[in-house]
Each structure stands twice: as structure tokens, then as C-alpha cells.
Symmetry: none
Subunit: 135 residues, 2 copies
DNA sequence: TGAACCGTATTAGTCAAGTGATACGGTTTA
DNA sequence: TAAACCGTATCACTTGACTAATACGGTTCA
């Protein structure tokens, strides 16, 4: 059974996204294996002190990513095929950042400048989220 | 006098940010030169069909970026120096990569991974160009 | 000086995101 | 089969971003 015992009591961004991140991290770290039973919406909501709908929103997203399956009325289980999941996600991310790479290179920017810019913007985006600003 | 005649009737994001982008692009492209008179809030609002406060919000941001100056009761003027031009270009680029940063962070990626990914994709894009491949 | 502009400040309305409260129907199991 | 779970759907509330409505004071110039 997947456990939410180690869920960070505080964190960045909306709760449902933190739940999604938490599960994704568990999958990436190998703490969650294929077929693991996911705790019910109600159990997680009681553990975290949030509404079941908040958990439902996270679970729905994880399901759309192919990381878990749910059947109405029955339990939910993790679906972990590390290679395919990781590869698919990396491909989407690579596509996205790849477009920026081309755009920045076309604009004449040097690699070091781009790296510095990414680093700075990453920190700024992090701080913006901490301030609760929209995305 | 800076003109809003070519302002895109439709676009992405809030109106005030589109105004900011529009002026930034004009500065970066050299279409707006130092000392150019900026149309008043009311004139722009009438041209674009939005509230003067929306224009004010954009103008305020442009002023904070050092791209224009305003005096209460008087006209507003563009400030185009080598520094402000570079600032405008950097802002435009930062906005582009900023969207990617948000997307990557939402997807749960860590900063180090994003940096490594950018570095790798940069090199690959470079090698692809050296081989004469199109985009 | 005063009319006609200008930039500015304050307040209110609109909308979407995030979360909560509640009810419904399906599944499990004793 | 019936109680106790489960996932799901619907509606309400809160909050912040965005925009609008309006009023105020400063500047310009005939």
C-alpha cells in the first residue's frame, strides 16, 4: 500500500499538484512499484487534512498520466512501467525545451547565457510560486 | 508618436501584458526611438477598446522596466538607450523561456535535470545545424 | 486663468482556480 | 444480501487576477 506518511506538511503550489508530485517522485524513486494499492481518496484526505475532492483531482491527473488506474467503486492501483513513463515524460519535456533552445540560438544567444537565464528564471518562478502567484 | 495601429486584435494572455510585449518588441526592433511620444492612456484605451486602467497598468510596467517615462499631468515618452533596448530584448526572451520553466516545474522536474536537459539539447541543436539539417 | 488635456488613485465587477460539502451509484465482503 | 467501503458528480465558497467605472489633482497653452 502506498503511504502518504512522509508527505511534506508544507510545500509549494496547490495541494493537488503537490500530491501529484509526491506520487511521481515515489514512482521515480522506485518506492512505488507496479500494482501497488493506492490509498482511497477519503483516507488520503483524512491523512492530509484536505477535502476528498482535492485528492480526487490529483488522482485524476495521475490516472491521465498513466501512473494509476481507478475503477468506480473499487480500489485504485499504481501502474508503473519506469521506462515507458519516464521516456514519455522526458520526450514531452525535451520537445518543449527544445523549441526554446532553437529560438534562443536563432536570436544569437550563447549557451552560457542561456544556461544562466534558465537558472535565474527557474529561481524566480520558484519564488513566484512561493508568493502564491498564478502560473 | 508611437502608434498602436498594428496592435494584434487577438493574442495570448492579459491585455496589459500584450501591450507591454508590443512596446517591448517595438523597442527591440528599433521601430521606437528615444524621445518618441507615447500616446496617452485614454487614446490607447479608445484605440484598443479597453479601459484606461488597463493601459495604465501596462505603462506602469514599462516605466518600471525603464522603457518610458511619465510625469503626472504631462505626456509620456519612450526611453530608448542601448541598455533599455537590451533590457527589452532580454525581457522578451525571458518571457519565452519562462513559460517553459513553468511547464517543466509543473511537470515535477528538478532544476538540475532541467539544466542538464537544456545543455544536452543545446549541443544537439548545434550539431544538427553543423550537419546542415533544417529545423 | 480656465478649459482641455494629462497621469494617478480608489472602488467595484467579472471570471477562473482551488478547495470544501454533500449526495449518488458501484464494488467488496462478511 | 446488506453494511461498509469505494470512485464519482454536482454545487457552493473563497481568493486573486484582470478589467472597468469613476473621481481626483497636476500640466499645458490659448
Amino acid at each position: 500500500m502506498v503511504s502518504f506518511a512522509g508527505f511534506p506538511p508544507e510545500g509549494e503550489g496547490p495541494i493537488y499538484l503537490r500530491i501529484v508530485r509526491f506520487i511521481r517522485a515515489g514512482v521515480a524513486a522506485g518506492a512505488i512499484v507496479d500494482g501497488d494499492e493506492m490509498p482511497s481518496r477519503r483516507v488520503v484526505s483524512a491523512t492530509l487534512g484536505v477535502n476528498p475532492n482535492t485528492v480526487q483531482k490529483a488522482y485524476r491527473m495521475l490516472e491521465e498520466e498513466g501512473l494509476m488506474v481507478s475503477r468506480s467503486g473499487a480500489k485504485s492501483f499504481a501502474v508503473v512501467t519506469p521506462e515507458s513513463v519516464e521516456a514519455a515524460r522526458a520526450r514531452l519535456q525535451a520537445e518543449e525545451i527544445g523549441r526554446v533552445v532553437s529560438a534562443l540560438r536563432r536570436s544569437g544567444m550563447e549557451k552560457d547565457d542561456a544556461m544562466a537565464l534558465l537558472s535565474r528564471l527557474w529561481d524566480e518562478d520558484e519564488q513566484a510560486e512561493e508568493r502564491g502567484e498564478s502560473e
